[in-house]
């Protein structure tokens, strides 16, 4: 059982070296906030991908055989394939879409993911502000494009009027979507040919004509997310290294503290304090440092998340995992100081100042 000396000595030492601990808390808070933001960015990719795919309203996405998915490869299908798919057993409705990366040329130049859909068909999310495009030259933009209803934008040499806005329908870490009629998309991408890049369908097709392949929602999400695979790996590595940085800060602060307290530790040992209690004082301090920093990091990361153009998601599990990981980091960080406390020779309490 931990003696009350552990709590007393830990608390008093935290107060005694409060400036150093405040600086350490500040540094650890920033590191953890950055870790949280990276985690939020990482989770945001999943959230964004799921939201966008769901917003298109399909249960399956039909593409040409050999094509990796509906979002990442431009492979031409005749748009009447949609009728073939719609006629397949288990399918309730099917509509062609044209999806391709493009850019609004009118200032400010804005990269978008262009999706052409049939008016009233699948592939376009519910429009909360304004209405869906019904005629040529009309578009619905994701609010991240920074346009408002009534604005005119130019894309691929054609002018469009913004008739509606959607929120949170973006791809690839914040790239806004732009919805136009499929005829306009065909004109932009296929020179007006009646073609599509995929068919969005509701229901589950029992079988499809040869040369076609159906991807379910999870496969579609994987396809949409795949271009970010390297970025996600990089983020995961950065998060890992940031945890190490946090542990290093905790460790260096506590190790320096343990060095400075060597004489105190020797004195404590000389009057019969167990080494475990001395280690306990450092562990308590590590936990306090980590827990306070983790709490502040949650607040700071929330405040900073609004500055980022991409989706930053903070799932509830993060709030559970962060303190636990932070405490583990604190524990690891305290090891060097703890070792120092254990090896202090109590006989060194004798001697001059």
């Amino acid at each position: 059982m931990v003696s009350s000396l552990v709590w007393l000595a830990s608390r008093r030492d935290l107060g005694w070296r409060r400036r150093r601990f405040v600086i350490a808390v500040g540094a650890i808070t920033l590191v953890l906030a950055l870790t949280l933001l990276l985690s939020g960015f990482r989770d945001g990719i999943d959230v964004e991908t799921a939201r966008t795919v769901k917003a298109m309203g399909g249960d399956v996405f039909v593409v040409r055989e050999g094509v990796s998915g509906p979002f990442t490869t431009v492979s031409q299908l005749d748009d009447d394939v949609a009728e073939v798919v719609a006629a397949a057993p288990g399918v309730r409705r099917a509509d062609p879409i044209v999806g391709v990366r493009h850019a609004i040329e009118s200032a400010p130049v804005t990269d978008v993911y262009l999706i052409g859909t049939r008016p009233g068909g699948l592939g376009i999310p519910a429009v909360r502000h304004g209405r869906a495009p019904q005629a040529s030259g009309e578009t619905v933009l994701d609010s991240r494009a920074g346009r408002k209803i009534g604005d005119r934008v130019r894309l691929g040499g054609r002018d469009f009027t913004v008739v509606g806005l959607v929120d949170g329908v973006s791809v690839w870490a914040g790239l806004p979507t732009m919805f136009v009629t499929i005829a306009d998309a065909q004109a932009l991408v296929f020179g007006g040919a009646p073609a599509a890049t995929a068919v969005v369908a509701t229901g589950r097709p029992g079988s499809l004509p040869q040369g076609l392949r159906a991807l379910d929602v999870s496969q579609a999400k994987a396809d949409l997310k795949r271009p970010l695979a390297n970025a996600i790996t990089t983020i995961d590595l950065l998060r890992f290294f940031l945890w190490i940085v946090a542990a290093a800060i905790v460790g260096s602060v506590l190790y320096v503290s343990a060095l400075e307290r060597s004489r105190d530790f020797a004195v404590f040992k000389a009057f019969g304090t167990a080494s475990a209690d001395l280690v306990g004082t450092l562990v308590v301090q590590a936990f306090v440092l980590s827990a306070v920093s983790a709490g502040l990091a949650v607040v700071v990361s929330r405040l900073l998340s609004g500055l980022f153009p991409s989706v930053i998601s903070f799932p509830a599990r993060t709030l559970v995992v962060l303190p636990l990981v932070a405490l583990a980091v604190g524990l690891v960080g305290s090891l060097a100081g703890a070792r120092r406390a254990i090896v202090v020779d109590p006989a060194s309490a004798f001697g001059g100042p």
Binding site: M1, S3, S4, L5, L8, A9, R12, D13, G15, W16, R17, R263, D264, A266, V267, F268, K269, A270, F271, G272, T273, A274, D277, D345, P346, A347, A349, F350, G351, G352, P353
Partner: protein, 222 residues
């Protein structure tokens, strides 16, 4: 009433590749009520002997017994218990923990031994009153004079009423007015239930001793 016995004590260690024997064949017998003064120049082994008596250092040869405790044969855990319950130590440089108040410094050994905080606090208050520092109980060491710090250190050493009190140069860092106060306290601690061992260079302490161990003489005995 516990006697302190040291028989054939040898402490040897290597320094610069050469063996050094600060203590070589020392015998001491101090009955309860004794105040033993350890004299000798720097390097003569006074602090080494105190470390051995405190159970902080294992002798190379010989034995130390205090009452029925064979100090030199104690294992690490029993040594911790011995220091916690039997020995009180007053250090040369006071060695108070700077982040703790005077009262908390006195309480610390009791808290380490698992005594409840309220009980430890009461005991600390009693001892600080005994060394005339009850008014400074809430002050940190940095807010106390050298003499006051040494009196707090003495109170800390006495907090569990140890039958063996060891003091290493207790007047070394005090001016003459502070020395008088500390000596008066030490004199008041002499009791048949206790053995006090003081390592000192200070002639003013000599009057307190009931016996002297001069470690300056290599064949020295009590």
């Amino acid at each position: 009433m516990a006697d302190l016995r040291v028989r054939g004590l040898v402490v040897e260690y290597a320094m610069g590749g050469q063996p050094v024997r600060p203590i070589d064949g020392l015998d001491v017998h101090a009955p309860g009520g004794a105040l033993v003064l350890l004299l000798g120049p720097s390097g003569s082994g006074k602090t080494t002997l105190l470390s051995c008596l405190a159970g902080l250092l294992s002798p190379t040869k010989g034995e130390i017994t205090f009452g029925d405790i064979e100090v030199s044969n104690l294992g690490p855990k029993d040594r911790t218990g011995y220091r916690r319950n039997t020995v009180g130590i007053v250090f040369q440089a006071f060695n108070l923990v700077p982040s703790l108040t005077a009262a908390e410094n006195v309480m610390a050994p009791l808290l380490a031994a698992g005594v409840k905080k309220a009980e430890a606090s009461t005991r600390a208050a009693t001892l600080l009153e005994r060394v005339d520092l009850d008014a400074r109980a809430g002050h940190r060491p940095g807010e106390l004079s050298g003499g006051q710090q040494q009196r707090v250190a003495i109170a800390r050493a006495l907090v569990h009423d140890p039958p063996l009190l060891l003091a290493d140069e207790p007047t070394a860092h005090l001016d003459h007015t502070q020395v008088d106060g500390v000596l008066a306290i030490l004199a008041g601690l002499i009791s048949s239930e206790r053995v006090i061992v003081i390592a000192t260079h200070d002639d003013r302490v000599l009057g307190l001793g009931t016996q002297v161990v001069d470690l300056g003489h290599r064949d020295g005995d009590s």
